[in-house]
């Protein structure tokens, strides 16, 4: 598995550069031009990223996130999501590094091939950090009004949580 996946990234980089050379593109100059534009993007990104990181770390350090997890536990049960995985579903839309920590904790505590470990793995593989994506993508081009993005994205997340539990039940033939 390892041997194969480590090839992906370097192959893509070399492929793009080689393809460009064969097509007669001045790859070095072109790369620098594109990278320079990237600098502008990052500078534009900082304010919205700062706003998000601030709110998320306040939620984490104040203990509010833990309260939220506890408050939402009954909801998880009703939806068929294992209780052990609940913290992951709360943190996954708002913090990428946070959900990675919670994920590792679940693997450590309940075992990687347990039901909770598997459902958590499927959730990690099928969702992204929603609020991070919204903030970064819209923030980078200065969009203020996101209209119906948040409800649609959160509905997609919720679907993935419910489906993850359901799919693990189906593929591994277990009852949760």
């Amino acid at each position: 598995m390892d041997r194969f996946t480590v090839y992906i990234l370097p192959s893509i980089v070399v492929f793009i550069v080689l393809w460009g050379t064969f097509k007669g593109v001045k790859v070095f100059d072109c790369f620098i031009e594109g990278a320079r534009d990237g600098m502008k993007t990052v500078v534009g990104l900082l304010p919205s990223l700062l706003a998000l990181v601030l709110a998320v770390s306040m939620m984490r350090d104040s203990g509010a996130l833990n309260s939220l997890v506890m408050a939402l536990s009954p909801v998880a049960k009703a939806l068929g999501i294992p209780r052990e995985v609940m913290p992951l579903t709360v943190i996954s839309p708002i913090s990428g590094s946070g959900s990675l920590t919670v994920f590792e904790n679940i693997l450590k505590t309940y075992g990687v091939d347990s039901i909770a470990g598997r459902v958590a793995s499927v959730i990690m593989g099928s969702t992204e950090t929603t609020f991070y994506a919204i903030t970064v993508y819209f923030g980078s081009v200065g969009i203020k009004r996101t209209r119906y993005t948040v409800p649609c994205a959160l509905a997609a997340d919720l679907t993935s949580y419910i489906c993850s539990a359901w799919a693990v039940k189906m593929f591994f033939n277990v009852n949760i």
Binding site: L45, S62, F103, K108, S121, I143, T159
Partner: protein, 193 residues
């Protein structure tokens, strides 16, 4: 929407800290938050510049057009009426490819590239277009064919077969994607009426 969520998170954090006696931690968190954001930006800067450069080569050599043609069935469903040879279609295709391969670090910079092109012909630069919303929803329910980060962690924790969760993961992201895209289409129709 983001305005209310942001204020809500902070007020909730303050109240929770007051009740649970965590005000000192919250105070540290406010100071540390700014530092963390700048660090995150510096980390991102490397990958954004790297992929911005590679993206430019891919555009000029026509590679992005080839990839958008390969992904055209998906693009036609999600973004009806989009010109497949346009810069935005190219960048969106590259972003989807990076997601499919599980290259999270590449997907974000490529996605930002796509947003830039979408914004270039947005009549109201403060408001998200329907295409932008679809694109962001697509990214929040990312379809990974190879969930590399998860597989790596599963291996480290001694899974019998680290990749055995893949079919379940495909099913679950396909469902999330379907629900997300369908909802954006419903909202779009309602707005237009």
């Amino acid at each position: 929407m983001m305005n209310y969520i942001w204020v809500g998170l902070m007020v909730f954090a303050f109240i929770a800290a007051a009740f649970q006696g965590n005000m000192q931690q919250l105070s540290n968190s406010v100071i540390q938050g700014g530092v963390d954001a700048v660090q995150l930006c510096i980390t991102l800067m490397g990958s954004i510049c790297l992929w911005g450069g590679l993206m430019r080569i891919a555009q000029q050599s026509g590679l992005t057009t080839v990839i958008s043609r390969l992904l055209s069935p998906l693009l036609k469903i999600a973004f009806p009426g989009m010109d497949l040879s346009s810069h935005e279609a190219g960048a969106i295709s590259m972003n989807i490819t990076a997601n499919l391969l599980g290259l999270g670090n590449a997907a974000t910079p490529l996605g930002l590239e796509a947003m830039k092109h979408l914004q270039a012909h947005n009549p109201d630069t403060m408001t998200a277009t329907n295409e932008m919303i679809t694109f962001v929803v697509l990214n929040s329910a990312a379809l990974h064919l190879i969930p590399s980060t998860v597989a790596l962690l599963r291996q480290q924790f001694g899974a019998e077969n680290p990749l055995d969760i893949m079919p379940a993961s495909w099913l679950s992201s396909a469902a999330a994607l379907t629900v997300g895209i369908t909802l954006t289409k419903i909202f779009k129709r309602r707005v237009e009426r």
